[in-house]
């Protein structure tokens, strides 16, 4: 189902991110917003979804009453197989990530720098549960994109010149999907690519902690 028409900017961001997935890709969707991307893919879309705890070919999430106690994704949701799914151990699961077989990962973020650095696992003194599989996903997926609100709860920008929090990986983020815009990481820093409906480039720049290059001509909306 496509939700490009929904008035909820987060849903539109997630729907837009779903269009980043090309047929035949192997994709890992991080916990939180990224997981919702799958709901925006057309039925029967050919993509292999990977989860770190040892599965390729994730099928629909199941309610507790229908769940298999032995079948979860890395976020703890009860999932199901599809025809052609495979289970494997944790070493094989990350062999897939590190050896270049993961085409795309979509991750959440605390901060993203204009250099493509990502911080998404630790806020010293407040939040330090460990990085899980995030470091390898962020460092080794062929394409790393981030889904995040453009600012934090206090309105502070999450897209920055430099990250202030402990890094997950350096220079690997290629693109950021937010509730306001689609922003690419380029050799010159952040570049605005698309705007959420009703948002202006100026509003995006004001919510961004580093310079934002604007495209020539009209800016597409999502």
């Amino acid at each position: 189902m496509s939700d490009d028409k929904t008035p909820d900017p987060r849903r539109r961001m997630v729907a837009r991110a779903a269009r980043e997935i090309a047929p035949g890709m192997v994709v890992n969707l991080g916990i939180g917003l990224p997981t919702q991307v799958v709901d925006h893919l057309p039925a029967g879309f050919p993509v292999c979804l990977h989860t770190e705890n040892g599965m390729a070919g994730i099928g629909p999430t199941l309610p507790a009453a229908e769940a298999d106690r032995n079948l979860i994704d890395a976020g703890g949701a009860y999932v199901s197989p599809i025809p052609g799914s495979a289970y494997f151990d944790s070493a094989v699961s990350f062999a897939l990530v590190r050896s270049g077989r993961l085409d795309l990962t979509m991750l959440g973020a605390f901060e993203v720098a204009e250099t493509g650095d990502l911080a998404n696992w630790k806020i010293p003194g407040r939040f330090s549960p460990g990085a899980g599989g995030a470091i390898e996903l962020a460092q080794k997926a062929r394409r790393v994109v981030v889904l995040t609100t453009h600012t934090d709860r206090k309105g502070n920008p999450k897209l920055l010149a430099r990250c202030t929090l402990p890094l997950t990986a350096t220079a690997h983020v290629a693109r950021i999907f937010t509730d306001l815009a689609v922003v690419d990481i380029t050799p010159g820093g952040f570049a605005l690519r698309e705007l959420a409906r009703g948002i202006t480039a100026r509003e995006v720049q004001e919510a961004t902690g580093a310079p934002l290059a604007l495209p020539a001509g009209d800016i597409p909306t999502f």
């Binding site: 989860t51 770190e52 705890n53 040892g54 599965m55 507790a64 769940a67 298999d68 106690r69 032995n70 079948l71 979860i72 994704d73 890395a74 703890g76 009860y78 289970y87 494997f88 151990d89 944790s90 070493a91 699961s93 990350f94 062999a95 990530v97 590190r98 630790k122 330090s128 549960p129 460990g130 990085a131 899980g132 599989g133 470091i135 390898e136 460092q139 080794k140 402990p166 890094l167 997950t168 990986a169 350096t170």
Partner: protein, 231 residues
């Protein structure tokens, strides 16, 4: 024709061979594959000063959490303990030492231990604080981290099916770290939901060869802890 020895043991006797101060690998990623019954018996017998190696710290009130709450765990090597507020509090208060690894590197360090490799070289985490204090070497002009192998005094494994020689098979995402840990300890203890006679597990269906397993403990009950978590 030769035969293969029977390694079945009671859970009590198997766990009794684990001493105070032991380093113990514990299978499981969240609930699936966690050897809850072996952990219960470890709690009951009272071994303390333990170093545990597990992907996570389970959730509060489950599995590893019982041992942490009872003060039996000196150190935990893990990748993510975000679902266990007790463990995070114990870490923050200095009651529990926690060493974090990148998840796939934890898997590889355990696998290296099981494969008799002293260490692996990787670029994972090179630009992060997880690289702090680790030896670096340059190979073909590339800086790499030395990640040393992990081995344990004991590994606690949860299998779906097993035969009496200790050949193991897992199910779905309950596999996770179990086959890796089942190769990387001096004393490998596996609990199994189903115990099969020799020959009951076809040789191509074996996921952990019995050669690596020391004790095989059939479960008489699948307790609530193994069930679906209703959040």
């Amino acid at each position: 024709m030769t035969s293969l020895p029977d390694k079945t043991a009671s859970i009590e006797a198997a766990i009794a061979a684990v001493p105070d101060g032991a380093t113990i690998m514990v299978g499981g990623f969240g609930v699936p594959g966690t050897p809850f019954t072996l952990l219960r018996e470890l709690l009951r017998q009272g071994q303390t000063g333990l170093t545990l190696i597990k992907n996570d710290a389970n959730e509060t009130g489950m599995g590893l959490d019982h041992l942490i709450a009872a003060g039996r765990v000196r150190k935990l090597i893990a990748t993510h303990i975000g679902l266990n507020a007790h463990a995070i509090a114990a870490m923050n208060e200095g009651r529990l030492e926690v060493e974090f690894c990148a998840q796939g590197i934890l898997a590889e360090r355990i696998r290296a231990g099981g494969a008799g490799l002293p260490a692996i070289l990787t670029d994972i985490g090179l630009d992060t604080e997880l690289a702090a204090g680790k030896q670096r070497v340059e190979v073909e002009g590339r800086p790499l981290l030395v990640e040393t192998a992990l081995r344990a005094d004991a590994a606690l494994i949860h299998a779906d099916r097993a035969d009496r020689f200790g050949n193991l098979a897992y199910v779905a995402t309950a596999r996770n770290f179990n086959p890796l840990m089942a190769m990387a300890a001096r004393l490998v203890i596996a609990e199994t939901e189903t115990l099969l006679p020799l020959g009951g597990l076809p040789p191509d269906a074996v996921e952990t060869p019995g050669v690596f397993v020391d004790r095989i403990c059939p479960l008489t009950e699948i307790s609530e802890e193994y069930g679906v978590v209703r959040r």
